[in-house]
Amino acid sequence: MKPEGQLNSSSDRLRDPSAARPPRTSIWLAFVSIGAVIVAQTYAILTSPAEGDMGHLQKIMYVHVPAAWMTFLSFFVVFAFSVRYLWQRRENDDLLAASAAEVGATFNGLTLMLGMIWGRPAWGVWWVWDARLTSTLVLFLIFVGYLALRAFTDDTQQKARWSAAVGAIGALNVPIVYMSVKWWRTLHQPPSSPATLDPRYTMGLRLNAIALLLVMIYFIRKRYEIARLERATEHMAEAAAMGGK
């Protein structure tokens, strides 16, 4: 909104690049989160009894459902920081939104693959054009478009503004796609709640969700760190090229 403001902030960085030294993400967070996933999966597999209709197939729930939750959470982060970027024009908000988008797209792809692997034995089909499946696929495609837009735009300011707009509007589309395909046809069961889930499954699902949340936090932080480093390097290179002896 204020072009003077953004000029100031970038020239500040040009003056002193070390002031914006990006923080280092501890590798221990990676070990802890990966370890948490191993523990949670082992616990869930060992404690859950065979399900009435599905038998042991129910165990795919422990990876499929948390992956879907993390997808939505990541894209919510994209939406929030995209809107804040358009509002306040802080460069770091753009980088964080982009990091969350890449992580979210990864989890989104994983959710889709796991859903197909589960759907084949449970429903008899790899894919149906049903509410959950279609909207999850559309979500994936929207954020693939987002990442492609970033890849094909060179100017950093333009990249930030455009991807923030695409991220915010894309996220806005998600509930509508979900509603529309829900009316269209439905096969995927409604979301389970503790009331419809045997307590012996609930605990395992919660543990797995927490473990995958840790993984997601590590992924986004690490990706953000990389984005900050790359941007800081670019700024220094620009300053050097402009004759900042």
Partner: protein, 228 residues
């Protein structure tokens, strides 16, 4: 700045776009004939079964509109960029949203003409029987075209200025258009048939809601996108 001035700007941009497109050789004629060509190809691909063709007619018309629409949207900004007219346009006094509104209006007129041709061709080629309730069918078409034009113009304003515009616009636009496509085709099919499941009304309301949400959202976001 009064409303009257803004409206004049919007009209001027729209008129300029429409006249240049209609005059240019590569403009309206080629885009419209692409739409009809896609219809013919779909008709051939779907085989000679008359019943199957009739069932597929709605989807075929919408797909042909979509593909030729993408060309039209990209052109509306590309022409501006090639002649270097976008920068001076941004320098004119007055609010930025009028540029978007002008482009929107221009594309809407352009696409309405094209849809009219594609639909006429579709009715003939696919042997569609026009139902008694044809005004609502035109309403569905209009709502669908508005949704298509709003998002298409918005994304084209970015994609046409990026490095890979031919790929990027469909990549960004098509997933966003899923609700429009779904609502428009389901409602049209229901209106063409007996509407046993009573779904047309709900889909039309979804289209209205969709058009409204994205009209507002793109107007808010356009200012950030167009900044040089």
């Amino acid at each position: 700045m009064t409303w009257r001035d803004d409206w004049r700007r919007v009209r001027a941009i729209a008129r300029k776009d429409v006249t240049t497109e209609l005059r240019a050789k590569a403009g309206f004629n080629s885009v419209a004939s692409l739409g009809v060509t896609i219809l013919i190809l779909l008709g051939l691909a779907l085989g000679p079964d008359a019943e199957a063709l009739r069932n597929a007619s709605v989807g075929a018309v919408w797909l042909a509109t979509l593909f030729s629409g993408v060309l039209a949207f990209n052109r509306s900004f590309q022409v501006e960029l090639e002649s270097g007219a976008l920068e001076p346009l941004l320098l004119y006094p007055g609010p930025r949203w009028t540029i978007f509104a002008g482009k929107l209006l221009g594309n809407l007129i352009f696409l309405t003409l094209m849809v009219a041709i594609v639909v006429a061709a579709g009715i003939v080629l696919f042997g569609v029987q026009i139902p008694a309730d044809w005004p609502s069918l035109i309403g569905v078409l209009a709502l669908g075209v508005v949704g298509l034009v709003v998002l298409g113009t918005f994304y084209a304003s970015m994609a046409s200025r990026s490095r890979a515009r031919e790929v990027l616009l469909p990549l960004l636009l098509f997933p966003m258009l899923v609700p429009v496509l779904l609502a428009a085709t389901t409602a049209s099919k229901a209106l063409l048939g007996a509407d046993v499941m009573h779904e047309a009304g709900a889909w039309i309301r979804l289209l209205v809601a969709y058009d409204l949400v994205f009209l507002i959202a793109t107007f808010i976001a356009f200012e950030h996108v167009i900044e040089a």
